[in-house]
Amino acid sequence: MMWRVALPLATAFAVSLLALAPITRAADAVNPEADKKAFQKFFTDKFPKVKFDDFVNGPYSMNEDLHKQWEEKEQFPPYEFSLEAGKEMFSKPFKNGKSYEDCFPNKGIGIRQNYPYFDEKEGKVVTLELALNRCREANGEAPFSYVKDEMAALTAYMAYTSRGKPMDIKIPSDPRALEAYEKGKEYFYTRRGQLNFSCATCHVQSPGERIRAEILAPALGILNAMPIYRSEWSGMGTTSRRFTTCNSQIRGVPLSPQDDEYRNVEYYLSYVSNGLPISGPGARP
């Protein structure tokens, strides 16, 4: 009699355990495609009035007044000088006669949407800024600062030649690429600094809200507009500048530009914004 009751109970318990096991594994498995879908859905659900492509305009996409400000700003864009300088720099040969064109596919034109990419030879993420400095060094030139001026000008020009092209980041079937992606995701959601903020605290939990005088940008498409002219900086800034200043604003000691963590978080954030158009260079308050 006891067996009659106990056996079905034990069986039911075992079945329920088995049923739970795949769920746990699925939740822990790295699935960039599912992440991207969930990420994009989160923002389109949160801001149903914002057109999908408009997310790349950051705070200017968040309400009508700001959008009007952005349209007016685009009449005489503050990044124009940097863009012109970048165009000139890009075509000027190095001392050895070669130029940036020789370092990139399609001579560097219209390729911004493919950066960062995972380099299977190196086993790491390569960003556009890193590729530009590597190009310089390979041709006997000194690398530029990663945060502003020349680097911002060069990336502004390259972004401009890709305007309107959808972000198209690939994750090759290489466990190291998946690991880099996952580490980037971890960095994005990890709280740090004395203020205990993660990137997501501002750009997932609070986009559209004010932090002091600023309107926070949504994380979706946030890198598509890079590099940017920021009124707060009174100048141009690169993705590296954005990451390092975000860290110091929350009272965390920034890492060095192009450290693995920043390369990985750029990889993650760019991948989940796949499909959104490149809009750089951008302008921000």
Binding site: A38, F39, K185, Q194, N196, S198, V204, S248, R251, E261
Partner: protein, 105 residues
Amino acid sequence: MSAAMKMTLLAGAMALLAGTGAAEAASEADYKAAYAAAEAANKEAGALRNQWTTTASTLAASKKAADAGDFDAALAQAREAEALAKASIFQATSEKERWKDLEIR
């Protein structure tokens, strides 16, 4: 209040005052030990890639006070820096799993 209770309270207050007096007399050695402990904790936070700017500025303030010969202030700042560094270590350690709570799924 009984006389015995008054005596007990008085003795307690005297003991507290005596204790405070001892804490105020910070020496250079006290400062150096506290500063080394704070630096070690901040180094550990660095290995976790999670130092705080406030730890660095508090360490700098501690050194500045010591250079001026104010070891009371130097000791207090060093202890504060150690507490900040330990908090950053706790943050980095606990976030190893907690970040997943924020993830969009």
